[in-house]
């Protein structure tokens, strides 16, 4: 969390994360090139490097796409989410390496401009086995570039989180294009079943995890709370909220995080202003609700970040009746202080 521009706010975890990724990429590329040289001694070094970078980018994109649903299904994967954007940038760099070397090797030796050659040399759009798969890869690379270029918090703030998030959902279009690029490209000439099976497994994993996470999320959204005429809805039992943690409930289709701390109850929007992270899955640390994704903090009674930070989320009026928390359906403007509800009999803890 930062109130001034920083290229990257380095910390120990970020360094460890990035070094692990870089080491992983080098080990993968080394193993790929070594094994290829052993199994295919007639393949040129350029071909091996192009394939190593391309397959590493494709594999890393699968990892990136699996992190989100894995975190929804099991919070133990949350540390992977912390620097997911760095993984995305590495994916783009590997893809760009694959693309640039591919263009140099296959399109730069004629008298046509390499990019023109890439886009026009194959126009068999009606034939599946001869489909111009390189154009699909080029389009995917453009999308990955757009995402890598806007991955910094600077763009997140300027574009606003909903626009930024919508823009970054283009990753699914890029993934679809890359499945086409691989299936209609390398898998057309590859006689070994290993690549076909690996691609099928990757696709099944990504789709399966997203469908499983969506089913789990849907349960929260479709639960209809009891409403009374005064506008309050029955959210949850006080006893079901762990101390300094939250219960998440759905009110008018939007999620609200109900926090219990120091014998009090406060309710705020579940959506972090930074990257729409789930505040209700975070904890109260040093008196502040702390987002589990990137550590953005908010005071539970006001929904405002402690000074000098300026982020604010909506707050909700609460009351406790017969051991259950009731929340008013109407959110208050972000940053509005709402007196926390005192849990009966908890004064000794306060």
């Amino acid at each position: 969390m930062s109130h001034q521009y920083q290229a990257i706010g380095w910390n120990r975890q970020k360094r460890f994360y990035d070094w692990t990724v870089i080491a992983g990429v080098f080990i993968y590329v080394g193993l790929f090139v070594g094994l290829s040289a052993f199994l295919f001694p007639y393949a040129t070094a350029e071909t091996m490097i192009i394939r190593a970078a391309g397959s590493a980018a494709f594999l890393l994109l699968h990892v990136v796409l699996c992190i989100g649903p894995l975190c929804r299904l099991d919070s133990r994967f949350l540390p992977l989410l912390y620097n997911r954007r760095h993984l995305g940038v590495v994916t783009f760099l590997l893809g760009a390496f694959h693309g640039v070397f591919g263009i140099i090797q296959f399109h730069s030796l004629g008298d046509t401009d390499p990019l023109v050659s890439l886009l026009t040399s194959n126009q068999n759009f009606q034939s599946l086995p001869d489909f111009p798969f390189q154009q699909l890869g080029f389009l995917a690379l453009l999308i990955l570039f757009l995402m890598a270029a806007t991955s910094h918090d600077f763009w997140l703030r300027n574009l606003t989180p909903p626009v930024w998030k919508s823009l970054h959902m283009l990753v699914y279009v890029a993934y679809a294009l890359l499945i086409g690029h691989v299936t209609l490209g390398v898998l057309q000439s590859e006689t070994s079943p290993v690549l076909v099976i690996a691609t099928a497994l990757g696709l099944a994993t990504v789709l399966g995890l997203h469908v499983a996470a969506a089913r789990q999320e849907r349960k929260v959204d479709t639960t209809k709370p009891t409403t009374v005429p005064s506008g309050f809805v029955d959210a949850c039992a006080v006893a079901n909220i762990p101390e300094k943690c939250a219960a998440v409930c759905s009110v008018n289709g939007e999620r609200v995080a109900v926090f219990k701390y120091d014998g009090k109850i406060s309710a705020i929007s579940n959506v972090c202003r930074h990257q729409n992270g789930p505040l209700g899955e975070g904890k109260i640390i040093d008196g502040c609700v702390t987002c589990p994704w990137h550590g953005y903090q908010y005071l539970p009674d006001t929904g405002a970040s402690p000074p000098p930070f300026t982020e604010k989320v909506s707050t909700f009026q609460t009351k406790i009746v017969n051991g259950r928390v009731w929340i008013h359906q109407k959110p208050n403007p972000p940053g509005t202080r709402i007196e926390p509800s005192q849990i009966p009999g908890s004064e000794v803890h306060a």
């Binding site: 998030k165 699914y172 057309q188 006689t191 969506a214």
Partner: protein
């Protein structure tokens, strides 16, 4: 994630869950060469006859 984005996300994955396996399977089905099947080789002895 906020509600409209969650709905968009769900819709995207519904489409992808149908589209991508279809693309992958048809790409494999119509390929020039099949995995694991090597072209038949005529034994040298028989070829000489």
């Amino acid at each position: 994630m906020i509600q409209p984005l969650r709905k968009t996300h769900r819709a995207i994955f519904l489409v992808l869950a149908i589209l991508l396996p279809a693309l992958f399977l048809s790409g494999i089905a119509f390929r020039h060469s099949w995995p694991g099947i090597k072209p038949k080789q005529v034994p040298a002895a028989r070829a000489r006859r």
